[in-house]
């Protein structure tokens, strides 16, 4: 008899429990719904961290389980953010324009409204016409579909070209870096249609929720992020626990053997690459309304490299490892680079963490790779095994 999914994956229940307690706890301590011990900006940081955990799960599936070291998944994350950002910016600007034009003696025509919105959004890059890619920006539904469709299609086309030519290993990693770099450079241009290096801003203001304070909106997004993370975790655990997971791990360990068993390795890689790109995009679409701003620097190649570092430190090939790595490292990074970490005076030199955090992270990464390739998740596994033996 086949045991149930939960019985085969005890970590799922534990994780869901911890996530529920965390989210409830944060809500109770928040300014918006609770006693106000946690500031709204901290709630946003926590909500964003949950989104980063979700993209880390995607990275773990593609790298930890399937062995494809993609250094481009932040491109999909960013694209997801841009797609939702377009609607947020358009709809909010439309609201502002409509309010201000309402006082006008002669009611404005639709064309006038549209050109006023265009002026407002694209004025910074010296334009006022809507680029073609903004055609559906007034529709939340379509932009939500595009959150999935645009990164999904990019991943599908890129993956098809790369996997079909049997590009593997380091060459594939370089190719994915090239993809993010190209995308980021393209978006930096003023005529890319997405406001160049200004990016999209004011994303924290949710159209249609005008009177609602940020302290409340931040909780909405915290919960939305938690639910997305929970669903992502369950999906990942379900996919990896059965025969599909066996094939995926088989591809990581011995691609040729899988091929000679009759599985089309390229198709499987394409599936996992595209599915994880979509997960990353959804994470991004939830992240940027909490961040308030997205610009092309977010898609810089280094971001995707950090993602790999999180997963490596957390422990590849374990879904909870990816979550732990992303949460721990990104929160620490916020703390160290936010100036809160106390500087260490050495007399002749003072260590300012804002500068030295990168070094600490780099050294940690090297040490983990050399001495604990299983990461934090591996240590947990050993503890659990010891615990069950006692």
């Amino acid at each position: 008899m086949q045991r149930s999914f939960i019985a085969r994956n005890p970590s799922v229940l534990i994780f869901l429990g911890i996530l529920a307690v965390f989210t409830l706890g944060a809500t109770i301590l928040s300014e918006g719904f609770g006693i106000g011990l946690i500031s709204t900006s901290m709630i946003k940081t926590l909500g964003k961290t949950l989104c980063l955990c979700l993209i880390a799960i995607a990275m773990d599936l593609v790298w930890g389980y399937c062995g494809i070291l993609s250094l481009g998944h932040f491109a999909f994350f960013g694209l997801g953010g841009y797609m939702i950002g377009m609607w947020l910016m358009y709809a909010r600007t439309e609201n502002i324009i409509l309010t201000s034009l309402a006082q006008a003696p002669i009611p404005p025509t639709d064309d006038e409204i549209r050109s006023a919105i265009g002026n407002q959004i694209f004025g910074v890059v010296g334009g006022s016409d809507f680029p073609l890619i903004w055609a559906f920006a007034d529709s939340l539904t379509i932009q939500l579909v595009l959150v999935v469709l645009v990164p999904g299609l990019l991943a599908l086309v890129f993956g098809w070209l790369a996997f079909r030519s049997r590009v593997t290993g380091v060459y594939l990693s370089i190719l994915t870096q090239a993809m993010t770099l190209a995308l980021s450079l393209y978006l930096f241009q003023n005529d890319s249609g997405l406001r160049g290096n200004n990016g999209l801003s004011g994303l924290q203001n949710i159209p249609g929720a005008k009177g609602v304070p940020q302290s409340i909106i931040s909780i909405w997004f915290l919960w939305a992020s938690a639910i997305a993370l929970a669903l992502g975790y369950i999906l990942a655990a379900w996919m990896m626990s059965g025969k599909f997971g066996s094939v995926i791990r088989g591809i990581r360990d011995d691609e040729a053997r899988v091929r000679f068993l009759g599985y089309s390795v390229e198709t499987y890689k394409l599936v996992i690459f595209t599915v994880t790109a979509i997960i990353a995009a959804i994470a991004g679409a939830l992240y940027y309304p909490q961040a308030g701003i997205i610009n092309p620097a977010e898609i810089a190649p280094i971001a995707s490299i950090y993602l790999a570092v999180w997963v490596a430190i957390g422990g590849r090939g374990r879904i909870y490892g990816a979550v732990i790595g992303a949460a721990l490292v990104s929160l620490l990074s916020t703390w160290f680079t936010g100036g809160q970490a106390p500087s260490i005076p050495l007399g002749f030199y003072t260590i300012h963490w804002v500068d030295w955090w990168q070094v600490l992270l780099g050294v940690t990464f090297v040490l983990v790779t050399l001495f604990a390739p299983q990461g934090i998740g591996g240590a947990i596994d050993r503890l659990v095994r010891k615990g069950t033996q006692l």
Binding site: G242, D253, A256, F260, G262
Partner: protein, 246 residues
């Protein structure tokens, strides 16, 4: 007997070096065949060609009653068409249990969606048990394949091939590094397998080949040097010169 696999006029060169040189031979349905030859004779390369890993510069590889051209197919398609392959060094998925290794190999839908929604049937469980018994790993089903001994890994790989239910089994040096008792078990496995399908075994060990008791093909420098019973080929002067007389 009908021809199952026909290799005709195949040549492969690596950087100008001809590893396979105008090779032609045939395997009949349900036949057990041993392929011997000195190191570098092209035995493994021959398997690479048939399974789609290496593309030849010239020649044809024709398969089955519908005479399909294997050279136009991918590795996965060739495997699905019914050709199973065992590598020279044992290759099993070491990180996964013996059970999962076998489940993955069972002849079932190979598409991603079918695999994702796969539920193990009672029939599949039974089949895994049968296979495990055949390869002597019943007590090891839930161990990681990486923990098995060298010989057990070789058997697991043979078991995985049998699970695919191929019509042709290509086996590269199955007895290498095995003890005498293990070799005997391996011989029996292969002879048993050959009752229901064609099996081609590459092997250096003459005693092993003798025990297989089948037609033998001698490869040398990428082409067939001699073919026939073991006694017939071992008396061939060319074979003695290039292989046995070393």
């Amino acid at each position: 007997m009908r021809t199952l696999l026909e290799v005709s006029g195949v040549s492969v060169s690596f950087d100008g070096f001809k590893a396979i040189n105008n090779l032609s031979f045939q395997i009949a349905e349900g036949e057990l065949r041993a392929v011997i030859g000195p190191n570098g004779a092209g035995k493994t390369t021959f398997m690479d060609i048939v399974t789609g890993k290496t593309r030849p510069n010239e020649g044809y590889v024709i398969w089955g009653e519908r005479s399909v051209n294997l050279l136009k197919m991918s590795e996965a398609q060739i495997a699905q068409a019914g050709i199973g392959r065992k590598f020279q060094r044992p290759t099993v998925f070491e990180d996964q249990s013996v059970f999962d290794n076998l489940i993955m190999s069972l002849k079932n839908d190979r598409g991603p969606l079918g695999v994702l929604l796969y539920r193990r049937s009672a029939r599949d469980n039974e089949r895994v048990q049968e296979l495990a018994e055949e390869i002597g790993l019943t007590d090891h089903l839930h161990r990681k394949a990486g923990e098995l001994s060298h010989g057990q890994k070789q058997w697991l790989e043979i078991g995985m091939l049998l699970a695919q239910e191929p019509r042709l089994l290509l086996v590269d040096e199955p007895a290498a590094g095995m003890t005498l008792a293990e070799r005997e078990h391996t011989t029996n496995l292969l002879k048993q397998a050959a009752k229901t399908r064609a099996v081609v075994v590459v092997e250096h060990d003459m005693d092993f080949v003798r025990r297989l008791d089948c037609k033998v093909t001698v490869l040398h420098e990428g082409s067939v040097l001699a073919e026939g019973s073991l006694d017939h080929v071992t008396q061939n002067q060319d074979v003695i010169d290039v292989y046995l007389g070393r």
